[in-house]
Every structure is written in structure tokens, then in C-alpha cells.
Amino acid sequence: MHEYSLVQSLVTRVEAEAAARKATAVHRVVVSIGELAGVDPELFQTAYDTFRAGTLCEHTVMELRRVPARWSCPRCGRGIPRGEVLACDACQIPARLAPGGDEMLLETIEMEVP
């Protein structure tokens, strides 16, 4: 259940950003979660809905963007089909994951500022 500690990190970060800009409210946060980020989006949403009570994010909508894991050959660019061995047959080198596929990022905060 590390989703709760991740939500805690998220809310703390949002509160810090809001304080720095003297925001009176935070309307929306956009978070992207890679398929291989090790976070279950549904659990993360549930954890957010539970944990945000009493915080600055109490009324803040969270938009989750899912980033699929896309592997390809860094040399010839050939995509590796899902479930296949993560290497390029032709080039004989390891495949590379497209950016975002294993990351969990706070993208944007929409806040109300004076």
C-alpha cells in the first residue's frame, strides 16, 4: 500500500507550491503514471480520495494520465511487441523504454492566485 505514502508526497509537494505562490485554492492537479512506474492508478486514486481530506487538496480534482510502456530498439527504432523478449533481434542490442513509461510525475497544478 505504498500508494498512500505517494499521495502524501504529492499533497506535500502541491501544498509547498501553493504556499510559495500564495494560492488561495488548488483546483486541479495532473499526474502521469507510467505502466511500469509500480503504481496502480485505481489504488492511487482511492488513496488520494481518502488522504486529501483535511488538506489543501480536499477539493482538488486529480487527473491521472496513463503512459503505456513502449519498448523499441535504440538503433533501428523497431518496436518490441508486448510480451516479447526486450531486445532487438536484428541489431542484437537491448531494447529501450520510451520516456515516462516507468515514471510517476506531477505534471501540472492549477491554482487560484491573488
Binding site: 505562490r21 488561495t24 509500480g38 516507468d102 510517476m104 505534471e107 491554482m111 487560484e112
Partner: protein, 305 residues
């Protein structure tokens, strides 16, 4: 203020952050990593299922590395310090990190635990994570490499079920291989599945019980030690207090009355109260030249490359 007419109403602005949600953890991990590198310590994050054989692997490592390397460990556990006590019994100075309901270690937990073990006086330092194939993978602790212990008894498809963990692994140690003849498991299938979740899989097959494969594992450790940066870590002033009071509780064979820079020429092979063991071995990333301290007991130092 409203920018259209200056009426004093608030306005809604989007603020682009584009930052990792675990950026705070990563900053502490970078701090840990700088410390390990600065002291020339190979730090490894050892992960795997409960019962995968993580502790037994370390016990076997202690037997194989005896007289060669000084080992140390912190061991994450939900409720007990059993693993840390097993490691102590095997000759690895250890400290338990009891996480309560926490399913993983984070960089801050490791940083705090390091205050209680003489990690600077080790050559290889293991961070034995909580037995779990999910959460530990996403928390950087400041390790030089991730090692995942996977036992042959866990089923051939474990890698496919936990791709995030195996993708994070720099090395998979396939444990309990002495049991293969007794199981309906094909090692080839496990290896093939690893290739589908790791772009450049590195696997060592071992048995902690028979000692098979342990030499290959020790050779891997040696190769990783050779890759360690030889210079001290990034210069930074210490703003924390864990190392500086310099209390020697053991008989000290040298005296220093003039407050000049000096090195300890004796080898520290035992744990003692101060974490900083200046010049404990010549493999330390910072020598006595960085390390001026006077006769008043307290001292300040800065790491400079």
C-alpha cells in the same frame, strides 16, 4: 489579481511542475549515494519476496568473503529484528529497520539507520529490503546497484507477474538452485521470462546451502567494487550531526597534542562508537588530508575531491 481589469479577483493559473512525485525521496537517496561513494563503500539494495533467501544469501556471502571484505547491513522487516540478528551471528554488523506496516524501505529510513551502523568501515554494505516484490522497486535508497533474489520455488512466471521489480534489477540471483531436481520447474523458462521484463538480464544461479554459484556472486561483487568512483563524493558541508562527536571508547594507540592533521595508521576492524573511521583502510575515498581535526575532540571537515 485579475489581469484583465485589475479588479482584485483571483485568477486561475496552471503551474507546470513536471517533477517526480518521489523527488523528495530521490534527493535523500542522492545524499546517501554521495556518502557511500565518498567512503568507497559498495552499497547494494537487496530485494525479493519473503522467503526468497535474501538473508541466507548474505550468510553465504559472509562465509565466502571472510578475511577479504568487511561487510555490513541494514535489514528491513515489518515486525522483527530476526534477520539482523541472523546477520550478526554470521559476522555481518547489522541493524534492523522495523517498518511497522510499511511495505518498503525509503531513503530517509536508510539514512537514519546508517547512523547506527559503522557503514564507513565496510567494503560491501547490504540494504536488505522488506520482503516484497512490489513497492521496494520504486524507492531509490542511494544504492550502487539493485539485486533481486528470486528462488526457484517461487514459480516460473514470477518475473512476468512483477515486471517493475525485475526491470529495476541490475542482477537477479536465482536462489535455492539445489532444489531444482525436486521441483517441477524449468530454469530455462525462468531465464526466458526474465528476458521479457529485463532488457539486459544478468542472472547468477546459486545455492546458499551447498555454496554452488557463490563464487560467481562474489566475483560480481568484486567487479562492481572496481566500478566504484575512486574520488571522494561531491564536496558538501555536512549539516547533520551524526558523525562528528568523536568518542573513542577503545584504547587508542596514538596521541596527538599539537592539533595537526594526522592519520590513524591502525586498522579498525571492529565497530565502535563513532561512525567515521578516518583512514580505516586505504580504500576509503577520503584520506586524512581532507580531515583536519584538533585536540578538542570536535572537528569539522569537508569532503573535497
Amino acid at each position: 489579481m485579475c489581469t484583465t481589469c485589475g479588479c482584485g479577483d483571483t485568477s486561475i493559473v496552471p503551474v507546470d511542475v513536471h517533477e517526480k512525485i518521489l523527488a523528495g525521496n530521490d534527493r535523500v537517496a542522492a545524499h546517501n549515494r554521495a556518502h557511500f561513494a565518498g567512503a568507497g563503500v559498495l552499497a547494494l539494495n537487496l530485494m525479493g519476496s519473503p522467503g526468497a533467501g535474501k538473508t541466507a544469501l548474505l550468510e553465504a556471502t559472509a562465509r565466502a568473503a571472510k578475511g577479504r571484505w568487511r561487510l555490513g547491513a541494514v535489514s528491513g522487516d515489518l515486525a522483527t529484528d530476526n534477520d539482523a540478528r541472523r546477520l550478526e551471528a554470521a559476522g555481518i554488523p547489522s541493524r534492523a529497520i522495523t517498518t511497522g506496516q510499511g511495505c518498503h524501505l525509503d531513503a530517509e529510513l536508510v539514512h537514519n539507520a546508517l547512523h547506527g551502523v559503522p557503514w564507513q568501515a565496510t567494503d560491501v554494505f547490504f540494504i536488505e529490503n522488506v520482503g516484497n516484490l512490489v513497492c521496494p522497486a520504486i524507492y531509490d535508497l542511494g544504492q550502487a546497484a539493485n539485486v533481486v533474489a528470486l528462488s526457484v520455488t517461487e514459480g516460473e512466471d514470477k518475473p512476468l507477474k512483477y515486471p517493475v521489480m525485475f526491470k529495476a534489477a541490475d542482477l537477479v540471483v536465482l536462489t535455492k538452485c539445489d532444489l531444482v531436481p525436486h521441483l517441477d520447474v524449468k530454469v530455462e523458462t525462468i531465464l526466458d521470462n526474465l528476458k521479457r521484463v529485463m532488457p539486459a538480464p544478468r542472472v547468477i544461479q546459486v545455492s546458499a546451502r551447498t555454496g554452488a554459484g557463490i563464487d560467481e556472486w562474489v566475483a560480481w561483487l568484486a567487479s562492481r567494487r572496481e566500478k566504484l568512483p575512486r574520488t571522494a563524493g561531491p564536496g558538501h558541508a555536512h549539516d547533520h550531526t551524526h558523525v562528528h562527536p568523536h568518542e573513542h571508547t577503545h584504547a587508542h594507540p596514538h596521541r596527538h597534542a599539537d592539533g595537526t592533521v594526522h592519520g590513524h595508521s591502525h586498522g579498525h576492524s571492529h565497530a565502535h562508537d563513532h561512525l567515521h573511521a578516518p583512514g580505516a583502510e586505504d580504500e576509503h575515498g577520503h584520506g586524512e588530508a581532507d580531515h583536519a581535526h584538533g585536540t578538542d575532540g570536535g572537528h569539522e571537515h569537508e569532503h573535497e575531491p
